[in-house]
Subunit: 531 residues, 2 copies
Amino acid sequence: MNLHGSSFIGDRLAPGAGEAFHAVNPQNNTQLPPAFHTATAEEIDRAMKLADEAFMTYRQMSGERRAVFLERIADEIMAMGDTLIARAKAETGLPEGRLTGERGRTINQLKMFAQIAREGSWVDARIDTALPDRQPVGKPDLRRMLVPMGVVIVFGASNFPFAYSVAGGDTASALATGNTVVVKAHERHPGTSEMVAAAILKAAVACQMPPGVFSMVHGNGPPTGLALVRHPLASAVGFTGSRTAGRALFDAAAARAEPIPVFAEMSSLNPIFILPGAMRENGVAIAAGLRDSVTLGAGQFCTKPGLVFGLDGASFDTFKETIVPLLESVAPTTMLHTGIRDAYGRGLSRVSRIAGVHSLAQSSKSADPGQTQGEPVLVCAGAADFQRYPELATEVFGPFSLLIAAKTIAELEDIARGLEGQLTATVHGTEGDLRGAAALIGILERKAGRLIINGFPTGVEVCPSMTHGGPYPATTDSRFTSVGTAAYLRFVRPVSFQNFPAALLPDALKNENPLGLAREVDGKTTREQLI
Amino acid sequence: MNLHGSSFIGDRLAPGAGEAFHAVNPQNNTQLPPAFHTATAEEIDRAMKLADEAFMTYRQMSGERRAVFLERIADEIMAMGDTLIARAKAETGLPEGRLTGERGRTINQLKMFAQIAREGSWVDARIDTALPDRQPVGKPDLRRMLVPMGVVIVFGASNFPFAYSVAGGDTASALATGNTVVVKAHERHPGTSEMVAAAILKAAVACQMPPGVFSMVHGNGPPTGLALVRHPLASAVGFTGSRTAGRALFDAAAARAEPIPVFAEMSSLNPIFILPGAMRENGVAIAAGLRDSVTLGAGQFCTKPGLVFGLDGASFDTFKETIVPLLESVAPTTMLHTGIRDAYGRGLSRVSRIAGVHSLAQSSKSADPGQTQGEPVLVCAGAADFQRYPELATEVFGPFSLLIAAKTIAELEDIARGLEGQLTATVHGTEGDLRGAAALIGILERKAGRLIINGFPTGVEVCPSMTHGGPYPATTDSRFTSVGTAAYLRFVRPVSFQNFPAALLPDALKNENPLGLAREVDGKTTREQLI
C-alpha cells in the first residue's frame, strides 16, 4: 500500500504544510513512512465549503441511496483486507485479533446505519391534520420530521482506530441521516485513517455522491481540530478522547458567535460496587472478571473499571488476596502510543504518592519501554482517603484500578452521591444483597448512562438499547449516546411544515406515505397512508 | 387576593432581601402592591437543595401520580378565576380576552403533558434480549429508557405570563417526565407568578408531592437567574426571552465546571417571502394577513414577521399601497412594560437611521407614553441595503416589519442563504410560483424550525408536529422544541440497564410490560409483554 500522506478535500488531495509528522510503531518505537502534514487553514476552509455545498445535494438523497453508499463503504474497507489490519497494527500496537474484531464491528455499524437509512422511520414523522373549522381559530395542517443538521465534524479516537475513527459510529450515523462529514484524522494512526478515507471516497465516487460528502484532514496538535470546530459552516461535532481535549472543543464551540452542539465522550471511572454477599460468595469469580476487564486491551477502554468498592472485612481481604496473583500473571502489553503510556505512568505516580494509597498488585513482569508497554497495577485505599483526595477520582487511562474499602453501605452510598458523571456503574450482589440495593442503584442512575448488575462494563453492545454516554465528564451532553442506533439523534433536528401543498412536502410526510414509514398521524402510530 | 411578595421554597415562604421592586401597570404606569424582594443566595441554595432532594422521590413516582398532579395544577389555576386574569392584566397590559385564551392554552398544555405522563410511552423503552450463546461473545440482556435529568430551571417569559411562565410548557414538560422545577419568576409579572406558584404548591400538597418538587424565586435583575444556572445542583435550563439574556445564561451554563444544557428561545425575524404570482394575485389578502400578524398583541410574539421580501415592480408597489391604510388604521396598544416599549423605540430609531430605509406606514394615531403604547410601523428598503447593513437583520420586538424589494428570485435566495437562524420562515406563492420555489424552500429549511406556505407565523399550535425552535439565534439548540409534545426531550436522558434481575428493573422495562407501553423489543415496536 502506497500512502501519500495528504489530506482529502472531497476526492482531491491537499498536501498540507508545516513540519512533517509520522506515525510511530509503539511496538518498537520506530517511525513509519510516509510523512504527513497538517492541513492549512485554506485547506480546512475548502473542505468545509465543499462539505456545505455537498450537503445541499446529499440531504435530499433517498435513504436507499445513502444506504447503498454506507454498504459500499463497508465493502471497500473489507476489500483492503489484511493490508489495512497490518497498517493499523503497526500504528496502534493493537493485536491482529482485536483489530479484525473491531473492523467487523465497524462494518456492522455501517450496515446497521444503512438499514436505518433505508427503512427511514428514523425521521420520526408526525402529521397533525387540519381542523379548519375549529373554534376559536382553525387548526392548520402541520407535519414534522427530523432532518440532518449540515456538516458534522468527526474526530478520530486513538483507542478505536476503526470503530470510533474515520468510518466509525459518528461518521456512519451522520452520513446515514443526510449530514456530510469532515473528519479530523487522529495523528497517531494517520496511515490507517488515510486508507479508510480512501475507501470512503472510492465508495463516494462509485455511488455518485457529491464531492465533499466526505473529507478528511490531517493535523498534528490541537489547532486543526479547533479550526474545524470554529469554522462557521460546522453544524455539530462528535468526539471521543481525553477530558482536556474534549472540554477544549466544547468550550470553543460554545464560544462561537453561533454555538454548535458538541458531543464529546471523555472520561469515566466506571465504578464497580461489590456488595457483601457477592464478595463472600462470588469473590473468586468477580476477581477473575475484574482482572480481565481492567487489563483487556491494556486498559485502554473508556469503560475500563477504574474504581472498585467493597466493605472492609475478611471477604474483601480474601478478594484482594485472590486478585493479586491473577493480576501478577498478566504481562505488560504495548499501549497505543508513548503519549498514552507516559500519561499512564504519570497517573500511576500521582495516585501512588497520595497518603493512604497502598500498592496491591502489579504484573510480575516489568514493562518494556522499548515496546511502549504499560504495566497492570492495582492499588487500594480506604473510603476516608478517597473522600479526602479528589485526585483519586480522576481517570488513569490504562490497566489500572483502585480498590476502596468502606465501612458501611451508607458510606458507599455517600461516596456514590459524590461521584462525577460516568459512562457506566456496576453493582455485584447476591439476590439478598440486591434486595437492599435500591437506594444505591437509584443514586447510580443519576450518575451513569449504563447500569450493570453482576457483569463488567467493558464490551459495549451496538444495539437500540445501548447508551454510551452519561453525565459530565463522561460526556458533554447526557441526553445522547455515541453507540447504538440512537447515536444519530446527535446530528438531526426537527422541522415542521405548515400548510404545505402535497407537491412540496418531503416524501416522508406525504399523505400516500410512499416510503412506508411508521408515522404518528393525529396521535396514532401507523404505517398506513392518509386518506 | 392578598399577595405576600415572597419567594416559595417548596411550600415555605422566603422573604428575600435587597431593595423592593414592584410590578407596574403599563396601562397607566402606576406601581402595583405588594413589594417583592430578590431571593438571597442562601434562599436560592435552599430551593435547589430541596429540589434535588425532592427529585429522588418524585422521579420514582408513577406517571399516573404525576398526571394527577399536573391536572390538579390546572384545576387550581382555574379555581382562581377572574382574580388571576385581573392581576395578569394589571401587570402586563394584555387584554382580558388574550389572557383568558392564554390561560386556556396553559391548562391544555398541563393536561396534554398529564396525558403523556399517564400513557407513559414517552420513556422510549427499548429491550434487546440476551443471546448468551452468540459467538465470539454472548450478548447481554440490555434495556433502555429515558429518565428525568434532575432539577430543571425555568425562566418565566414576559410576553406569555401563563403559557411560557410559572406553569407554562417548560414546567409542565419537566414535571411530567419526573424532573423537579425551580422557576425564576419574571420581574414584570411577579404577582401573577406568585398566584400561579401558589396554585402549583396547593396542588403539590393535595397530591402529597415531596416539598421542593416546585419552588419559585423572585429576582430583579440578572444575578438571580445566573445564580440558579450556576448552581451545582441544576441539571437543565428552559428560557424564553431576549437574545442578550439567553446568551448570558447559555454562556454561564457552558462555563460551569459541569456544563448543563440550556434551551434558550431568543430571537427571530420570521421572514416572509412573497413570490411574484402571489404578490400579483393575492396581494390584498396577504397585506391584510400581514398587517394582522405584525400587529397582533402589539407585535410581542417571538413569531411576529419582522422581514417581508418581494420582487421590485408594480405588484409590490400595489401591495405597499394596499397595506399603508391597513396599518394606519391599527391603533397603538399598550406594550408589556416600559423596558420593552423603550427597546422598541430604540429599535425603530436604529433602523430608520440606516441609509436606504424609508418609512412606509405608521399608525394614524400617536402612541401614548402614559399608556406604554407602541406604534405600529412599517418601513421598506432595497435588497442591496439589506445586504449592506446587518443591523437590518436584527429583531425589533414590537409591531414593526421591514419590507425588502429584491430584483430577482436569485437575489432572494442569496439573501435567504445569508439569514441567521429563525423560528419560522414563510413563503407565499401561487401554484406556479411554488413549482419554482424548491431551491428557496430548501435554503429556508436550513434556517428555520418551521416552514409555512401561504400562511402567517403567529399562532403556534401545541401538538406533536410543532417545532418551536430553530438554528441560533432562534434558539441555542436547534435539536429541540419548546412547544408541542416533543418539548420534554430537552429534559430527559437515556439510561441502559444491563443484566438486571426482574425485581430491579423499572416497570417500564419489565417483561410483563405492566404499564402497557409501546416498546421496541428486539427491533420491533409492540405493546405486548415479553414471554
